[in-house]
Amino acid sequence: MIGGLMRETGFLLRDRAALVWLALALVLSVAAVGFGIAEVREQRATLATLLEGDAADRANAIAGQSDWGGAAYNAFHLTYAPPSAFAFAAMGQRDASPWVHRVRMLALEGQIHEADTRNADFGLVGRFDFAFLAASVAPLLLILLLYDLRSGERVAGRHDLLLATAGAGRRVWLPRAAVRLGGLALALLVPFWAGAAIEGAPLASVLQASALVLLALLMWAAITEIAGRAASSPATILTALVGVWLALALLLPALARAAIDARHPVPDGGEILLLQRESVNRAWDIPKPATMQPFVARHPEWADYAAVNRPFEWKWFYAFQQVGDQAAEPLAAQYRAARLAREAAAGRAAFFSPASLIEREFQRLARTDARAMIAYEDRVRAYHAQLRAFYYPLLFRDVPYDPALLAGLPVFTPEDR
């Protein structure tokens, strides 16, 4: 077997076409990993600038205030989801979903759907990251490396002679396929490992991802092998294999996406905002108790402080902001649940498409999947609730304004990735 592998490695090194594919795989992998690391670094640098600017802006905003309500109105707070150490390999949903917000004490539904996403062309085309390379491009390269192992020899007229000399087909094809598959795997994975080492990605994730890539390549090798046994011309075999690739990597995921989106409709996002806005703005025109009642229902601890005597009081102002969120709550919960349902359905559908499966698995490991983005939004909601919990006692108990107390404002802590 070792001799076979050595011999085949020698053959491979003299096969120009095969070397071109392997070199291409290596170049693409280096490019994908390099661009991934550059992007992750830029996002981290952006976050560092944002954190600095955010603190300065908040200090500045608070400086001119004379009451709690004004401070809460003017002070924005940065919330963010930093890229994980593995994110260089799969940018995933970070181009489509926002990963940074600046929120304040106003109704959250009006703020959390703000989309600080990048250039729309990016989301349209998608990035060339390692996950895409491994999921969609690598199988095609493997097919190009393996499809004419048998039929190529047949065309060259050596097929039967080879088999007769070797005794068993296995002894010819197995080492040959193994060397090519191994070469491709190394060309893809070595830059990935280097990138993972540079970024300090967790070993378990890297091993899991590598195993997944190898498994998928083995699966594609098996498909190629089955197709290659047919006594057809190499061109016919290649056509059939490209067809299989197209179906599994492109058509199936796209059809699954369309079907899932149709099956799990999300509520019209605009409705959430509309509801929240109508509720918030109506508060100015209705009697104050009509606002304070649903507020106190949610916060019975402020029942004794809920009387509003003047046309404008900050506690009433923030109460109707919260009541606005409460009005939109069922719809917002529906929106979130529908996204999770789509995500779960997409996870099930991915078992039928190795390309989808790899991309989704990489995004899961990188915490750049839809679930992670929703988890980030949940964190923003939790943080906003902390802000309310901080200000409500000050507003309702009518604590005299003391900017020193604002040092105790809750600080957003991102998920530890």
């Binding site: 992007e39 729309a120 990035r127 039929s151 190529g152 190499p234 796209a254 100015w284």
Partner: protein
Amino acid sequence: MSGAWRIAREEWRLWLRSRMVVAAAAIVAVLIAATAGLTAQRLGHEAVQRSAQQQAAEAAFFSQPDRHPHRMIHYGHYAFRLPPPLAIFDPGVDRVTGQSIFLEGHRQNTAMFADAKASANTGGFAVLTPAALYQLLLPLLIIIIGHGVVLRERESGTLAVLLAQGQSALALAGGKALALLGVAGLFMVPLVMLAAYGIAAGEAAGPALVLVAGYALYLSVWAALVLAVSLLVPARSAALGVLAACWLAMVLVVPRIGINAAAALVDAPGKIESDLAMLAEERKLGDGHNASDPAFDKLKQDLLEQYGVATIEELPVNYRGVVAGAAEEKLTRLLNDYAARRMAAEARQSEVFGTFALASPTLAVSAASRALAGTDLATHHRFLRESEVVRYGFVQALNEMHATKLAYADDARRSVDPAAEARTRINASAWRVLDTFRFAPDPAADRLARAWLPLALLAGWLAVLTALIIYAARRLQP
């Protein structure tokens, strides 16, 4: 020429006898038909829905009760981006950008609720749209059908016979080209129908026809590439390998590398980042809610001098409203300045991205396609600018009412005095100041102007490949 026709006819006869070719073509045809039908239905529905939502938003604004005008500034308004008729073929950035935007005082919001954010994530490929099928799938079909056009003759030995009979190699290549173009032409039919549907739905004929011509050019480029490779490469399987690799590179790899490169080369700060820089500047301009802000001292002095009075209480206008209007004006100038910079940076990124079309006809045709359909980034930017005009219009009209229709004394006491508060509400009929907004596609000439460069690139590709075909045909050996 009759020789070329005969060869083309013969090629077609062979294809029609090949089950694989017929099956592949049938699958692609069904996919295109289904996708076109579904996309047309979906976008038709979206257009109706958004247009209804736009009218509902206006009706909601008009039907608000008597209020302080500043409340209406915060009540705000919505602008919806209506999909243009040709979006049924190429929805472009529509699903990535979000279709509606909330317009209110003191802020420029982003377009929210992009479909892409909530869509099921099944991997890297974009959703199926007719445009994507034309860009991705038809080239592959042409490769699969056509990679052997010349090599088949070579491998079966008929090439030698044909050439020996005195058939000129150029006529042979012409016939094969004709056969391939026939396939491309057949698959142009759905696009022609969609374009006609678009024109019937109110699209200008120019962009629709150029869109059809652009895709015809694109498919011709692929047909030419397939023929050139079939002429130049010695074996069928090698030709298919080379073509598959070209497809992989031009359709999948280069566009995405272009995105990576654009992101790495041009730094386009996100909205929050540029907002932070702007907020620091804004604070220097003063807070429009607070009329005693020192930043408005000069405004106050000017007003007092203009009306020849000593205190703001004596002014014939409501000083608070004047301040609100002045602050909004300054702020908007700043917001527009930063928004313009952000859009310019994004446009520069898209330019960098666009240069990769030199290495990928797919990128060229997709850029031209989005521009012609009116679903490109530039159109979205125009949507942002036009909705900003609407925003500024109603906000300033309301500030004007604030300054001229309310008494300063009432306005200053409205937070503590219910009677003063009641007097600061103005009659709801005033809300009619809001301009109606209907987003329309760019004028045809603008869209054509944006599309000509990528189309010229495609023509360049075709010219180079045609030259290559002629060169290869001249030295064709059996």
